[in-house]
Every structure is written in structure tokens, then in C-alpha cells.
């Protein structure tokens, strides 16, 4: 039954992927003027531009380039950088691990902190915990994540010395250092998501606790603990899952910024360099990989949704 759902969803993903890759491909042609002219800048001469266009393959008809690109993508070839000629897949591959670690860390922070704070606030509605959570989440949504990262860095790493200033250690070199280094970046990346998840899980939980079936459960003498842990939380999960999926997809972009704060050698710095110097193939490749990741996240969320909510299963 879940297989059927996955199948159905994958069918829907195909046109989405096709459109995304078409849009990503089109990036090259949205650059005002010729990309080659932009690359050469003030040194551009008509001959130079023509030569560069020929070298980059930009002189071929658009549809040939598109075919080329699509078949490349299908084979896992995302082209080569306009600077230094590195393979885009290599650029991504070499920098993937820190970024993935940060995204996973941020997700753990966002989901665990967000869920528990939201549920706790709902259970103590109107009480001190609820108010404190309310204030913290409001601030957490409003504070720029990179500033929060810098504040965490200067407090816990520089002044208190509890955690390393240098955030990235490859896990195969020193597992402990790797884990300690990830704590602050994960907190900074996950904070905003935690705040938003907390708000949504609070209201989802309040709604679940006010639902008529809770009255039924109370009327047969079910202890409040059981009602909350077994019934209300599972019911609240349905709306929460959607928010979590969206937050995780936002976290991917947020992690690119946080990498800069903690000088982590992830995809973010490559992307930002590429953006600044208009290295379109690298931007295209990373954008496509991010889009793929987001699509997978929503797919997983949909499967989770169907597991939690029997009404969302295909009949």
C-alpha cells in the first residue's frame, strides 16, 4: 500500500523534475548579454567572446545545448565549471559531507527542540512555560541566523571555551571533535526552524487536546498522560509534518549561510563564490541538487503523512 503511494508520488515528481531542470538550464540564457562577454569583462573583444563561446559550447543551437545538458544530467554529469574547468559533480561531491552533516544537525535541533517546546507549551497553556516558549520562539523567528551563529560562537567557543572555534573536523579523523564542532552550527541553523515548528506544534497540540475524541477518552477513564502521549501527539503530527518538511527544505539554504559563519568547507561557500563570479554551471548544478533534495524531503514527508494518517493512504 505504501509502495502504491510512493509510485503515485514518483509519477508526480517526473514533470516537476523536468520543469525544474528546464528552468535551471535556462539560467544561462537569462544573463543579460552573452555570458562570455560577462566573463571576459573589460577585456572583451568580439573575437575573444566568440572564441570563449566556442570553447564553452555556447555557440551551438539552444536545443542542442539543452539536449546535451539533459542527457548529461541523466548520466550524472552536471558539466564543468567556467573557472578552472573542474567537474561540477566533483565540486559538489568534495563539499557535500559538511553540508549534509549541518543540515542533519540543524534538522535534529529544529525537530527535537521545536516539537518538545511546542508540546510542552500546549500542555501548560497560559502558564509560565508557555509564555517563555512564546517569547523565545518570537525572538527565534526574528533574529538573523548568521548573527545568532556569531553570538553563539563568541559566547560558547571564544569566551567560555566549551566548544571549538574551528567547527569542521572530518569524522574519519576525529569523531569526537567532529561531533563537538557541529553543535554550534547545528543550533544556529536549526533555531529558526525550531521556533516555527514549536509554534505550529503548540497550536496543533492545543487543537488535538480540544478535539471531541479526547472527551471520549477522558470519559472512559484514560489517564491524561496516555491521552497526551498516545493519542494527542499522533493526531497533532499530521499538521506538524507539513511544517517540518517545509522547514527542512528552508534549512538547506540556511545551512549555506551558517557554513560561512563557522567557516565550514561545504557546498555553500562554493555556491556563493560561483554566484559572485557568475560561474553558471556550478550554480546550475548545486541548484539542481538542492531541488532534488527538496523533492525527496517532501516525498518522505508524504510517506510519513500516510503512515500517521490512514485517510491519506490511497484506497
Amino acid at each position: 500500500m505504501l509502495g502504491r503511494l510512493v509510485g503515485l508520488r514518483l509519477l508526480g515528481v517526473v514533470p516537476q523534475l523536468a520543469l525544474v531542470s528546464a528552468l535551471v538550464f535556462a539560467l544561462t540564457y537569462l544573463v543579460p548579454g552573452s555570458p562570455a562577454a560577462v566573463l571576459l569583462g573589460s577585456r572583451a573583444t568580439p573575437e575573444g567572446i566568440a572564441a570563449l563561446e566556442a570553447r564553452l559550447g555556447l555557440d551551438r543551437p539552444v536545443w542542442v545545448q539543452f539536449q546535451d545538458w539533459v542527457s548529461g544530467v541523466a548520466r550524472g554529469d552536471l558539466g564543468t565549471s567556467w573557472y578552472g574547468g573542474r567537474e561540477v559533480t566533483d565540486v559538489i561531491g568534495q563539499h557535500l559531507l559538511p553540508t549534509v552533516c549541518l543540515i542533519v544537525g540543524g534538522t535534529i535541533v529544529a525537530v527535537t527542540l521545536g516539537l518538545s517546546a511546542g508540546v510542552l507549551a500546549a500542555l501548560r497553556q497560559g502558564g509560565i512555560v508557555d509564555r517563555v516558549v512564546g517569547v523565545i520562539t518570537a525572538a527565534g523567528i526574528a533574529v538573523p541566523s548568521f548573527w545568532l551563529g556569531l553570538l553563539l560562537l563568541s559566547l560558547f567557543a571564544v569566551q567560555l571555551g566549551w566548544l571549538p572555534v574551528l567547527s569542521w573536523t572530518p569524522p574519519d579523523r576525529d569523531l569526537g571533535a567532529w561531533a563537538r564542532g557541529l553543535v554550534l552550527p547545528s543550533l544556529a541553523a536549526g533555531a529558526a526552524g525550531a521556533a516555527i515548528i514549536a509554534r505550529h506544534s503548540r497550536s496543533a497540540m492545543l487543537e488535538a487536546l480540544e478535539a471531541p475524541y479526547v472527551q471520549t477518552l477522558r470519559a472512559i477513564g484514560t489517564p491524561r498522560r496516555t491521552i497526551v502521549l498516545r493519542y494527542a501527539i499522533k493526531n497533532a503530527m499530521t499538521p506538524i509534518l507539513t511544517v517540518v518538511a517545509f522547514q527542512v527544505s528552508t534549512l538547506i539554504a540556511a545551512s549555506f549561510v551558517i557554513e560561512q559563519v563557522f567557516t565550514m568547507p561545504g557546498i555553500g561557500s562554493e555556491l556563493i563564490n560561483a554566484v559572485a563570479r557568475k560561474d553558471i554551471p556550478v550554480v546550475q548544478g548545486i541548484t539542481l541538487v538542492v531541488a532534488l533534495a527538496v523533492i525527496v524531503i517532501y516525498l518522505v514527508a508524504d510517506i510519513g503523512y500516510a503512515i500517521v494518517n490512514p485517510r491519506a493512504r490511497p484506497q
Binding site: Q16, L19, V20, L23, V24, L27, L30, V31, P32, Q125, A138, I141, A142, V143, P144, F146, W147, L150, V158, A211, P212, Y213, Q215, T216, L217, A219, I220, G221, T222, P223, T226, R230, Y231, K234, N235, M237, S249, T250, I252, A253, A254, F256, V257, Q260, V261, L271, I272, A274, V275, A276, K278, I280, V283, I286, T287, A291, V294, N309, P310, R311
Partner: protein, 634 residues
Amino acid sequence: MKRVVLQLLRRPATATAAGFVLAIGVIAVLAPALAPYDPLTQDYARTLEGPSADHLLGTDYLGRDVLSRLVFGARVAAQASLQTVSIALLIGVPLGLIAGYRSGWWDRVMMRLLDVADAIPGLVLAFAVIAVLGTGLTNAMIAVSIIFSMNFMRLSRALALGERERLYVDAARTSGLTQRNILLRQILPNMAAPLIVQSTIFMGTALLIEAALSFLGLGLETGSASWGGMLSGSTRWQFQQPFLPWPPGLAITLTVLAFNVLGDGVRDVLAGGTRDRTPRRRPRVRARRAAAQPSLAQLPDDDVPLDVRGLSVAFPGEDGDVEVVSEVSIRVRRGEALGLVGESGSGKTMTGRAVLGILPAGGAVTAGSIHVDGAQIVGRDEAALNDVRGSRVAMVFQDPMVALSPVHTIGRQVGQAVRNHAPTLSRADVRRRCVELLEMVRIADPEARLGDYPHQFSGGMAQRIVIALALASNPSVLIADEPTTALDVTTQQEILDMLTDLKQRLGTAIVLITHDLGVVADACDRAAVMYAGQVVEEAAVDDLFAAPRHPYTRALLAAMPTGAGGDDRLPTIPGRVPPMTALAPGCRFAPRCAVRTDACDAAPVELGAGVRCLHAGAAWQAGDAAHERRSQVQ
């Protein structure tokens, strides 16, 4: 509109946020007059200074005055957030409106676009746009506008779809308004509120994205004074001058916070939202009056599992407590069904819920006693109440389709009911008992259906399951609150027959809460009629129908559709149930009563010999007439 603004200002947080946003706007407009220095003038003699008398917020790494830059930064902030949101509105709303209103291939194209937008996080899209167009605030803000416009498109599409369904648009269409007119005059005004809320929140988000892009060096040129640029510039120097990031950091955080609080406030006010405010105060428990205190001689006997005496329930209101149940006394014997009859708001449901100690938040029993199987319920704590609920008294609710958790199987929920009072039962025994219970309420193929979810059952079947839940631990008392109201007529009869059967077989005492005298006639032995929180008449069902003594009971009977239809229209009781805050000083039914005299208003009327009326005798006479009419019908 004025009302909305006033309501907004009455909320302290919203008013503060609105004031803050307004202040930022004023600062942005008056920046040149307010700033003590030129924001770009450098002073290499005084770099990275802390706050001082000439530089209230200190200086940055080029010796520029931080306060002046902050003041001018308000301009960039105001401009950036207004520009992005208005461009996004201009692009997104028309597209969404067209997609939602026209549907068809327009809509499909837009939805595919949204699919793509969904797959690319906002900031990554911004990166791509900047890669194509080059760095700078305008390009960055174009990118942000695109992201926001997608969101506005989705929002206005959904709103247009919703509005389209409404009747008035159809009416407008038939009355010959052009499509453009319909879009502009009818749909757009109704969308204003949600769009305002979203725009407010996006203004804050725009600031955050601008800050992030500046931090990455992809936003403003480094020299100019934007808060994001100041914050990112200062972070490089924060170890030399730790104070430096604070002014721009706080400016961004507080402004975004203000936008969010304002947006939330507008949403709450427009939604009529006082939803989150729970009354913390509980109603004061009255000194229990002598009449309400059961004397030892009257203590309940085995044959009367439910004995309620002088029960009053109150909720905290704007001006003191509001009593919704006043001195209600009911007794139900084993194997007896008592109908608790009244219009909505008569206090019948609250009486039922008080028996289980599951009053809604804020509600409390203020007087009286409730004995179930001889044990006092009033004043017990949750743990003690949980021992009683389900095992001695249980309750069935109105709408079976929402009375069960939609995401748990039937087996899980019936099993919960079984385990609550038999925690040591083995898994197999619980299952066996579940099957037994489903068989008892006549669910076909119970073994197989344990794994099903509530939505796989019809309303009538779901109500049977709720009844199975309630009876899982053989309670002596079952309170059924309008158990058939949400069901269709044939199913109603099945449920009532089942309740009657269970009552006879298991000896359960049933309280059947209903507004429908037909249900009472069908399934009850006795009935208590409630009006405005009081029992106004109690009698055996046959007597009640044959000779109603209270004018209200008579009116209810007269309003009952008899099926034979001698009259052209259904008689109704004139007037309506009074709000519990504005009760008549004397008899509560007096304002609607046909036989009211001055004496009725003089003082509260006590319940005497089963009826709460000064004219019970006179009512007898009229009741005979009603009885005759009814007998003729039958």
C-alpha cells in the same frame, strides 16, 4: 475597519509593535534631519569606538557614526521591504486570482510553476537570480519579490477558489457584472485581510533575507548604510569591538519581531480570536446550602447508581460567575432510562459532563453532590475521577464521527477502554474482550474490523463503537448526550433500540440527554425537563406526555411534530432561551409563558412535587387538552 483598528490597539503587544513599525517609518522619512552625522563620513582617528557622548552608539571600523548609519539604514529597510512586498503583490495576486477564478489550463500552468517554486528554497532562488543579474540590493530584492509572489499567488488562488464557490459570486455572474468587475469588486475586498497579514510578515522576512545576502557579500555594496550590511560588516570586527554588531542586529531583530507580532495581531483580531485566552480563575464554590446537602438518612442505596442533588455548575464570565446549571437533582435507578430534555443552552449537557467531572475549561461544580454507586464525585481529584470514569459511569457523545481518534484503529481505542480498568489483562484477553464488546453492539465480523479506522465506518456503526467503548468496563451509569442527533432517522431507531436492550440486559442506568421528545417517548422511563439551567418538571414519561404540568413542557409537546399534521405549520415556542447572564428575577420561563401572572416575577419559583410552576394546577387543565389531542393523533 475602525473597529478592527480599535481592537488592535487594545492588545498591548500589537499596539507596541504597530508603534515600533510606525517609528521606523518616521525615522526613515526624517533620516537626514535626525542623524547627527553623515552616514558615510569616515574618521580614521576614531575607529571601532564604543558608545560615547559624541558617538552615542560608537563608530565602526572606518570611524563612521553607528547611530547615523542606523538611522539611514531605516531608509534602506523601509524601502527594501515595501518594494519587495509591493512588487510581489503586483505579480502574485493577479496571477493567483486568474488561476483560481478561471481554472482550466491557466490554473494548471500556474500550479506547475508553483511546483517548481516549491522545489527550490527561496534563498537558493535568490542566489540563482543574483548569479544571473549580478550583485546589488535591487537584484537581491527582485529575487526576494519572486519568492514572495509565488506565495501570494498560492494564497490568492486558494482564496479566489474559495470565494468562487460562494453564492454571491454566482449571483453577481447572473446579474451581468463583467468578470473584471467580479474580480475587483467582489473577490479582492474579501482577500484583503489575509493578504495584509501575509504582507506584514513578509516585510520582516525581506529584512532577514536582505541581511543574509549582505552578510554573504551578495547584497548591497559594502559602503552604503543598510542594517544587514552594517551587521555583516561589524561581524568581522566583533572581537575588537563586541558592541558593534548589537545596534544593527537588534534593529533587524526588533523590526522583524514587530512585523510578525503585528501580522499575528491582525490575524487574531480578524479571526475574532480570543481563542487563546483561557480563564484562569475558577468559579467560587458557594457555601453548600442546607437543601443541597444530602442528609445521612437520604444517602443513596444500591438500587440508585446515580444520585445528583442540588447540583450547580458555573463558569467565570466577564462580570462574575455565570451559573449554567442551578440546583439540579436527578436520581436514576438500575435498568432505568431518564430523559434529560431541553433546548440547547438549558444546561443538560453540562449536568451530564459534571457527573464525569469533565466540564470544559473554567467550569466548576459550585454546589451540590453527585453520587455514583454511592461514592461522591464532587471534589475528587483527577486520579480518583479516572478510577470512576469508564468503570462506574461513562458517556457517549453527539457526533460519533469525531468522537473517535481518526488516526488510531478501532481495536486500539476499544482496547484502551478495556485496559483502563483492567491493566493486568494480557494482550490476547484484551483482544477477546474487544471482540466481545463489538459483538455486543452488533458489529458484523468484529475480529476483522478491529484493525479498521473510524473513517471506514458509517455514522451509526461508529456510534455503536463509541457505545462499546463506554460499556467496556460495565459501568453502572451511562450518560448519552444526544447520541442519535447526528444520525439519520433509521439509524437513530437502531441505536435507541440497542440502548434499551443493553439497559435491560446489563441493568445499566441511562441518562439520555436530548432535545427531542420523540427520543424520550421511545427510549426513556422517566424524564426531567430542563429550562435555563433548572429542572422545571420531572415525571414518568407516560405521565409527562399525558398530563404535562409545566407550561414549558406543554409548549415543547405542542411544538413536537406528530406526523399526522392537522396544522398547516409546526407550532413553535415564542421567544428564545434567555442568556444565563440575563435571567428573569422570578420564574425563568415567565417572559415566554402564556399563563404568566405578576406573582411569577416576584420571586424565584421552587421545585415542588415534581414541577417548578406557580400555576401547575392550571397547567393540568391545559395539559388534558393536549393529551386529548395527542391521543386522537395516535
